[in-house]
Amino acid sequence: MSSGEKKEYWRWKESCWVDETKDWRAAKIITAGIDVGSVSSQAVVCVDGELYGFNSMRTGNNSPDSATNALAGVLEVSGMKLEDITYVIGTGYGRVNVPFAHKAITEIACHARGANYMGGNTVRTILDMGGQDCKAIHCDEKGKVTNFLMNDKCAAGTGRGMEVIADLMQIPIAELGPRSFDVDEEPEAVSSTCVVFAKSEALGLLKSGYSKNKVIAAYCQAMAERVVSLIERIGVENDFFITGGIAKNVGVVKRIEKLLGTKAVDTKLDSQIAGALGAALFGHTLMLKQGASATKAA
């Protein structure tokens, strides 16, 4: 048996950030959003309705622990305690398993709200490419959902599918996007019906002489075609915004933009935090409604 450690090509970079220019101790309302997804978990802390910090990490095999660990990252860096947070909202696949959440809201509403903050109030169409499902969402100028469609039938067209391909190709997942453009000509897409079929087809292509880059390009194209067929059902209205981990894969994003004939709004923020950010913003709005600013303990 090999004693060498198996390299995890699918493992994406976890991140933790706080805005050191803001003083959370001076804030009237501190809210947190916890997005426990099937693949990743995020915690976002907002102070007075503005993004203060976030932590994005891989979801473990236990949703309550994942939620706790995600928030602990921000608390540790900022010096904040859980008791300092006025209101916590859970969202995502494991939203009902966030032990310290006051309320759970679906990720559909939270992603729309988060995209509205990240991309501006001109965002009308959101494509959330998550770890295990993909959602097409329309929203109004306030980030309220007006129409949504969800693909929860399989992993094709999702982040987990991309992780499978990264492992198969033995290429770090962050390199897949750029490498998909390093081909002489754009190949035909592989099967987009099922990630298991796509994996088998990718193996066949490698054996038939395709380069790794060409196979990656074929998979990125398949993923783009898959989600475009989903989003076309509700239509694309500009501005268009992509959330979720796949938004970081330039190979998929550029192909989606080409198929839809529109460019996605750029953001400096991490696209993976949109759901948790939306949840934290929902919390802020709820606290304003309840008059929390006047009653917060001194």
């Binding site: 959902v145 129409n147 929860d152 059902r233 929902f282």
Partner: protein, 94 residues
């Protein structure tokens, strides 16, 4: 809000779309709940605290089969759910 419940697969697109804005002021007291012979609809409180109709989770991945009895081949000339919903909030894609 238009909520689309269902899926697309190799045999077609199978979505039930519900205009939840029409549910919040339903003049027929959510007749769809009893109108569907299989009881596929339920009342939920959505993310904006409105009470609206939704397709039950258990039916969302099998609409093509579950709704087949109410289609013309099953002897119906119109769908019981859309007939019961006089505000026209419910639509089938197939």
């Amino acid at each position: 809000m238009i909520a689309n419940y269902g899926y697309k697969d190799g045999s077609g697109e199978f979505y039930i779309s519900i205009d939840t804005d029409k549910c919040t002021s339903c003049p027929v007291e959510h007749a769809c709940l009893t109108g569907c012979p299989k009881g596929m609809f339920e009342m939920i409180t959505d993310d904006y605290d409105d009470e609206v109709i939704a397709v039950k989770q258990a039916f969302r991945r099998s609409l093509a089969f579950d709704c087949s009895d109410c289609k013309p081949a099953g002897g119906y000339t119109s769908l019981p759910c859309t007939t019961a919903c006089t505000p026209g909030a419910i639509k089938h894609s197939w």
